[in-house]
Symmetry: C2
Amino acid sequence: MAAQHPHPATSLRDVAARAGVSVGTVSNVLNHPTKVSAQTAERVFAAIEELGFVRNEAARQLRQGRSRSVGLIVLDIRNPFFTDVAQGVEDEVTARLRSVLLANCAEDAARESAYLDLFEEQRVDGVLISPVGDVLDRLDRLRSRGMAVVLVDRLASTESYSSVSVDDVLGGRLAVAHLLETGRRRILFVGASTEIEQVRDRLEGARQAVAECAGATLEYREIAGMHLEPALAEGQRIVALPPDERPDAVFAANDLIAIGMLQAFTLGGVSTPQDVALIGYDDIEYAAAAAIPLSSIRQPSREMGRRAAEMLLAEIESGSDGERQHIVFEPELVARASTLG
Amino acid sequence: MAAQHPHPATSLRDVAARAGVSVGTVSNVLNHPTKVSAQTAERVFAAIEELGFVRNEAARQLRQGRSRSVGLIVLDIRNPFFTDVAQGVEDEVTARLRSVLLANCAEDAARESAYLDLFEEQRVDGVLISPVGDVLDRLDRLRSRGMAVVLVDRLASTESYSSVSVDDVLGGRLAVAHLLETGRRRILFVGASTEIEQVRDRLEGARQAVAECAGATLEYREIAGMHLEPALAEGQRIVALPPDERPDAVFAANDLIAIGMLQAFTLGGVSTPQDVALIGYDDIEYAAAAAIPLSSIRQPSREMGRRAAEMLLAEIESGSDGERQHIVFEPELVARASTLG
DNA sequence: TTCCGCGTTTGAATCGTTTCAATTAACCTG
DNA sequence: CAGGTTAATTGAAACGATTCAAACGCGGAA
C-alpha cells in the first residue's frame, strides 16, 4: 500500500545531495555550526526545509552511544506527590535539552523491573528511581554500563548512590508530637506494609514521639495500599468501633490515606477533629481542600525532583566517579483544622 | 577514565563469538526462535547470560524503521483526570508490548510543539494527543511519515483523524439542568478561555439549558488557568461581593476549579450549597472527598485512554488507510452535597 | 551412489547518523 | 612568490542490530 511509505524517509544523504554538499557538512551544520561557512549553512537549511528533513534520533544515538534521555520511575502516578516530583524532574531535564522517559511502576516490583529493562535497552543516560523491589544489583549493573543513577526518596542510606530524600523519622515525630501537644493520647498509625521504607520511618518517628509522652499509646494498622479506597475501608472499620475503643487521633502515612479516612469519618458521623483528629503526610494540593482541611507534613516535592535531576545530570556530565551526594530535606508541619479546632 | 567505559558494551557480535555461532543466528534466537535448533538456542542464551548482553534498542530501531513506542502528550499531568487517561493508555499499550513516551505540555503550545518534534525524531509509531495549539498541519506531516495519530478529547470533529471524546455540550447541559432543577437561577460559569474547546462546549451546553428555563441567567468568567490557584482567587472575588450580587450557583469547567472555589467559599464564610451551589466537571477522585462532597460530571477517563490506545494500535498495525473511528462517550451527572442539601 | 529437499546456519549488506583524518581553498607573511 | 597557517569541506569508517540470499549438512528416495 502506497500510504504506508509515503515519503521513503528523507535522510541526511538526500539533504546533502539537494544542497550540493557532502553528508559530513550537513551533519556539521546541525551539530557544529561554527565549522561551517554561513552561505553553506544557509543552503543546507534551505534543503532541510524543502525536504522536510527530520533527524533520525535512533541513528544518532547508535553512533554517539548516548541517548540524551533519562528515565524516571515513579511509584504511583496517581499520587499528586509523585506528579509534583516528576514535574520538578522534567523542568530541570528539559531545561538542559534532554528528554524524560516517565514510567509508572504503580508500587509493583515486576513493572519496575520491566521498565529498568526498557531503560537499559534504550540506553538512557541516567535513571531516577524510588526502588520498590530488590533492585540494587540491577542498579549496579546499570552503573557498570555507564549510566548514572540517583535514588529518590528510598534507600537513601545506600552510600554508593547519590540520593534525595526527606527525613521521614523527623516527619513522623513532628506529626505525632503535634497530636500529643493538642491533647491526643491514643494514636493510630495507618500505612501499607512496613516493607515500605517511608512507612517504617514515619512509624519509627511516631514511636519516638510517643515514647517521650507518658500515657500515650501507639497502634499500627496495615491496609492494602497507599490509596483512597483501602483507607476508606479502614475508616469504616474505625467508625464501626464503639466510641471508647476508637483512637483519638489518626496519623496517616500519606494524604491519600488521610483523605480516604476522612471521607469515612464524615459519612459515618465521626467528627474531626473532636472525635478523632487526623493528620496526613505529603501536603498534597488537595489536603487543604479536603472536607476538613487536613493537617499534614509537607515535603518539598517539586524541589526534590529538581534537585535529583540536577544531581543526575551532573553525574552524567562528569562521569560516574565524582562524589556521591545525599540531600536530605527537612519536612515541615502544616497544622489545619483536622487537628486543631 | 576507566570507569566511564567499564564494559565496552557487549554486542551481538560478542555473544556470537562466545557461543561459537554467527551474529545472524544470535539475532534469530532473539527474534525468530523457531528457525533455530534447540541446542544452539541454549548455547546462545548461555552466552547472553554470561556476558550480560542487553539488546541495543537504537540499533534495532534504526534497522527496522519502527520504534515500538507511542507518544502521549497530556494537557496537564497535575490534573488527575489526565493521569487517569494516561493510566488507561499505558495499560493498553504495555499489554501489547510497546512502550509509552509520556509528555506533559502543561497547556502550553510551545511545549507541545517541542514534544512533537521529539516524537518525530524518535520515530514513534503513533501519537496520542489532545491538541493545544494549531497542530493539524504538524499531524498531517506525521501521518505522511507513516505515524498513526489519534486525537483525545479535542478537535474530535476533525473527520480525518480517529478520535475519542466526550459530549461536552451534553455534559454542560446536564450540569446546568441539575442546578436549575434544584432551584438555582443565577448561574456563573467559570473557565479558562473559550479558546479551549472543552470550555466552549461546556459553556454552550450551559447556555442551552439556561435558554430552556424562564428567568434563568448565565454569566461567564474567565480565569487564568484550569487550576486550583486561579480558581481560589476567583472564589475570593465572589466572596467579596455583596450577597445579593452573588450567583446562586457556580458551574466550574473542571473539578480543580471547583475545589479551588470551594476552598475560597469555605474560608470566606459563604456556605455551600445554601448560599452558592457548586458543580464541577471530570469527577476526579478528590471531588467526593472535598470539604463539601462535590457534584460533578463524570467522564470515563481511564476507559477513554484505553480505547484511544486501542484505536491507535489498530491503526499502527493495519496501516493508516483504514476507516477513521470517532468514539464519543456520554458524560454522567454525579450529584453530591455541593448542589443538594 | 547420486540427487533432492529440508532444516540450520552463515555473513554481507543495510539502516542514518557522527566522527575524523585527509584534502582543498584561501589567505598571510616574510 | 614560496611556505605556512587557517578555515571549509569531503568521504569513508564506524555504531549494533536485522534481514535475506546463499551455503551447508544430512537423511531418504531413486
